[in-house]
Amino acid sequence: MRPRSGFSLLAAGATVVAVAFLLLPVIAIFAAVSPSQMVDALAEQSTGEALWLSLRTTLIAMVIVVTIGTPAAYLLALRRFRGRALVLTAIELPLVMPPAVAGIALLAAFGPRGILGDAVEKTGLELVFQTAGVVVALVFVSSPFFLRQAIAAFVALDPRLLEAARTLGAGPFRSFATVATPTARPGLAAGLALAWGRALGEFGATLLFAGSLQGVTQTAPLAIFSEFSRANGFSSALALSAILILASAALLIGVKLIDGDRAIEVAPE
């Protein structure tokens, strides 16, 4: 073994500090909340409703993000066209946009007095103070996470695989569905995990765009805030937080498992 240099000790120290700092708050929550408290919290109607709403809205948002995002990412990854760099930057804008700003922006676009407000009203769809509005906010803030990963995964795809599919008679849709998407699946799953994590934690944009109506738009993070704001509500906020951590961890692990354990071949250049 090489002798320890000053730097490797320093790097080890930095790693310990970083990991401890990131884990400590999580440990603190579970130290403060007993399993029976979590069960009690779950039994409460508002908590159950908030969790169920979070699950439903994020699930619908993810279906929309993946269904529209996958072919869009495929096109953006493979086609070269004028203004492509601009489009790639534009779709990442929500990543750096403060959530509160995202909420305001959504109101300006789809709100009753927004530029598309009349058009939305004509379709009979109600967004503000409605569950559908929550989904819109979630899609807006989470889709860039999926798109980025999906584009990177499709860019890394060996173009010869798609050419091989074509010479075997597969048209554009078939090679996308049967060759490109399965081969890019690890990247797509990673993107889905990131997007879902972001959607589960969504707070600001939802609050401003859809409000915080219990059972309608009050997702788990909003419920935590409302408990926290209540007198003596800290312990129930803690319990709900613990449940949300467990739920997100379960979702992330589940998505990672989509990845499967099949080895994928890295084609030589």
Binding site: A164, R166, T167, L168, G169, A170, T178, T183, R262, E265
Partner: protein, 361 residues
């Protein structure tokens, strides 16, 4: 019969691709030349994966591409199978699903047909394996099975053996030879190794910087190279014969058309024999026997071609072979067409390759 006709003109990075090829059904043409001479671009144009600035590709009476009239048939509609250099197997599909990819019909039936193709190529046991777990030789067979499963009208192979290690390359060469010999469609293959081209194809077109510099049968090109470049590239002489083992451990090969050779390589049955022209020495008919040169054949000089400071001497033994000697020796021996000579080389310089019994040439 449906022959393939290709004519292209297209600027590449450092030179222009400018060539004209015709391949009959059941014919095998090797486009041979060093790396970076535009060979793969030709395959891609035929397959429809690359559009040349000017060009025409037609199979029989059907035009696939004509830049003059704007006709362009999509790659997926050409039924033109392409075996890629690194095989490009779909990593998320098992071997049989790879093979079944280009087939039509019900799943069960496609699986049956895929399995029987894999069996024909000796890899039926790997039907459920994924490409990442296959060896180079196994991948090559799966790739070939996949290409043929789609019942292609043209077969294109890009350096079909270059992804293999030297030991499996030899077996793969023999198998590929017998598979290609059975097909009745135009076959265009690309290689940078002259003896591969000589063994797998019946016609070779030597390409250099986008142009065909010489085309013909392997023996013809080797015997009468049109330029120093072709001479350099068309290294090996290829002869054919029937091998039998002898008690002293050497293999004896009876050449087609007469003559007998010895080799240290083991083989029985029909073989291709390859030897480099610079390993062959020429002697006047009355010359004394050199005991270190076990192989001695008498023949007649067909042609004498200067290649730089050397000459290529084509000799019929009666199969054509070529020897490369210095211009000085050629002058001293007064070599000219029609002269009788003895060609000699060592048994250790005689490489044998078993080619199976289905050789139709």
């Amino acid at each position: 019969m449906n022959g393939l006709a290709v004519a292209v003109e297209m600027p590449l990075r450092e030179f222009a691709l400018d060539l004209d090829l015709k391949i009959g059904a059941g014919d095998r043409l090797a486009l041979a030349g060093p790396s970076g001479t535009g060979k793969t671009s030709v395959l891609r144009i035929v397959a429809g994966l690359l559009r040349p600035r000017c060009g025409r590709v037609a199979l029989g009476g059907e035009t696939w591409l004509d830049t003059g009239t704007g006709i362009e048939l999509a790659a997926e509609k050409r039924r033109c199978a392409f075996v890629f250099q690194d095989y490009a197997l779909f990593p998320r599909l098992s071997a049989w699903r790879n093979v079944a990819y280009g087939m039509r019909g019900a799943r069960r039936e496609r699986r049956q047909r895929a399995l029987s193709l894999l069996e024909r190529f000796g890899v039926a046991a790997l039907a459920n394996a994924y490409p990442a777990s296959l060896s180079g030789g196994e991948r090559q067979r799966v790739a070939l099975a996949r290409a043929l499963a789609a019942e292609p009208r043209v077969l294109l192979l890009d350096e079909p053996l270059s992804a293999l290690d030297p030991t499996s390359r030899r077996d793969a060469l023999r198998e590929l030879h017998s598979i290609l010999a059975e097909l009745r469609i135009p076959i265009l293959l690309v290689t940078h190794v002259f003896d591969e081209a000589a063994l797998l194809a019946d016609q070779i077109a030597v390409i250099d910087r986008g142009r065909i510099v010489q085309s013909g049968a392997a023996a013809e090109i080797s015997a009468r190279p049109a330029s120093g470049f072709v001479a350099e590239f068309a290294g090996a002489v290829v002869l054919r014969g029937e091998a039998t083992k002898t008690a002293d451990g050497l293999t004896v090969v009876r050449l087609r058309g007469g003559g007998e050779l010895r080799s240290v390589d083991a083989a029985t049955g029909p073989v291709a024999i390859s030897v480099f022209p610079w390993e062959i020495s020429l002697q006047p008919p009355g010359a004394e026997r050199d005991d270190s040169m076990l192989n001695r054949l008498s023949g007649q000089v067909d042609s004498v071609t200067p290649v730089g400071n050397r000459v290529r001497v084509a000799v019929s033994v009666p199969q054509p072979l070529s020897a490369e000697i210095t211009a000085r020796s050629a002058r001293a021996m007064r070599l000219r067409p029609g002269a009788h000579v003895i060609v000699a080389w060592k048994a250790t310089a005689t490489r044998l390759l078993s080619i199976g019994s289905c050789d139709s040439r």
